[in-house]
């Protein structure tokens, strides 16, 4: 039987843990709302860009087509971009991405392909470094930053575009948690290069659209922009997902702490009453002995 004092100490420590987890839950909830708004605000641009790309892509074919659109023509070197959070305590959020990335890498390597990894977010880097350290090149981290802006996505996109242009990588895939609902985030892989071209009906009757100055020039601007938008979308979805996952995890933790406090309090009261009873017995038997 643990002593009364040690029980009291444990109850207090669990109570303060509960305060921390419930505070983290509140913080995650308010961050989640902001992240969701940001993700929704970014959607119209991505949709319209997709439509425009669909119109343009059908008109460009052959060897003059830009690498970002059709790829380098090979399928040998794959670049994976696992998007994770910089902080933990969000349930299986980060581990899911790590595991999916690892599985993809294993599968590609079994097919004889070369895999390179550019982790976005510290947790993913730490996870993958244990097993796939030799494939990891540079990494990106937003640790200590309040929010992610479009400029961040643009910087990442520029690096990817440069690697593709230089022929260092052939296929680029981003692995991120798609925000499905607060309770569920779905680990998803999306190909960035070669650009997946959406099947859209052409806007003009007869399918003829005039392009100024010309298709090549517009695509040369549009494709890097599209890449940045796709990266931006993955970052925002992941940010929303992270907060959703953390909220759920912290909600569970708070509830568990509550259960634990209840159990400990019961033990504490039993121990206290046992003590009182014992003292009474001692007094009574002492009095009887006289």
């Amino acid at each position: 039987m643990p002593s009364l004092k040690s029980l009291r100490l444990r109850i207090n420590s669990v109570k303060s843990t509960q305060k921390i987890t419930s505070a983290m839950k509140m913080v995650a909830a308010s961050k989640l709302r902001r992240a969701q708004l940001q993700a929704e605000a970014a959607r119209p641009y991505a949709e319209r860009m997709e439509r425009m790309l669909g119109t343009l892509a059908t008109s460009v074919t052959g060897s003059s087509a830009p690498k970002l659109l059709v790829g380098t023509g090979r399928d040998q070197i794959h670049l994976l971009l696992p998007v994770t959070a910089d902080r933990g305590l969000a349930g299986a959020f980060n581990t899911n991405i790590g595991r999916l990335t690892r599985n993809i890498a294993r599968r590609l390597e079994a097919e004889g392909k070369t895999v390179r990894i550019m982790p976005i977010g510290r947790k993913g880097r730490d996870y993958l470094r244990r097993e796939l350290a030799s494939r990891i090149g540079e990494d990106v981290s937003f640790a200590g930053r309040k929010s992610i802006g479009y400029a961040d996505a643009e910087a990442i996109a520029q690096r990817i575009a440069a690697m593709v242009e230089a022929g260092e990588v052939d296929v680029v895939t981003v692995v991120y948690n798609r925000f499905h609902s607060v309770l569920s985030q779905i680990p998803t892989e999306t190909r960035l290069v070669p650009a997946p071209v959406p099947e859209t009906a052409s806007v003009a009757a007869g399918g003829y659209v005039e392009v100024e100055p010309n298709e090549e020039e517009v695509l040369a601007k549009l494709l890097p922009q599209n890449l940045a938008v796709q990266v931006y979308r993955a970052l925002l979805e992941s940010a929303a997902g992270e907060n959703g996952a953390r909220m759920t995890a912290m909600d569970n933790a708070t509830r568990n702490a509550g259960d634990m406090i209840k159990r400990l309090t019961l033990n504490y009261n039993r121990a206290r009453q046992a003590n009182i009873t014992r003292e009474l017995i001692e007094i009574i038997s002492g009095a009887e002995a006289l």
Partner: protein, 133 residues
């Protein structure tokens, strides 16, 4: 008869409403979009989008570059950055111009793509400073 004008930046949808006519700063000269315009996709330079309602110039937006898609009944502007002209900040514009000038100085002028990109940024920043006053 109106055209549906939409101005979108990566961060948000800035404007979506029906207008009589809109003038966009295309890379090859200003372009007015009215209803039944032939379908077009154009590259934009840094400049001003002017909205016309009932024959009079209304709202004005500064765009730092981007794309516009024009069809018979709508005009969609995908701007890298879009701000109502009245809300342009002089200091921010100045800072951008300084950056662009530095970028132009350091740009590799032999590489046509790099040179053009730097030049576009510079011209767009100059336009912004001019508008910000």
């Amino acid at each position: 008869m109106p055209v549906t004008l939409e101005i979108v930046s990566p961060a948000k949808l800035l404007l979506s409403r029906e207008v009589d006519m809109v003038v966009v700063p295309s890379a090859e000269g200003d372009l007015a979009a009215q209803e039944n315009h032939a379908p077009m996709i154009v590259l934009l330079r840094g400049g001003v989008i002017t909205v016309y309602d009932g024959g009079k110039a209304g709202d004005q937006f500064f765009v730092a570059g981007g794309f516009a898609e024009i069809t018979g009944d709508r005009c969609t502007v995908l701007a890298d950055q879009a701000v109502p002209v009245a809300e342009l900040s002089r200091d921010a514009a100045r800072a951008r111009l300084d950056d662009a000038e530095k970028g132009w100085e350091n740009a590799d002028k032999q590489d046509i793509a790099v040179r053009d990109a730097a030049l576009d940024r510079l011209l767009s920043a100059r336009e912004e400073v001019r508008l910000a006053g």
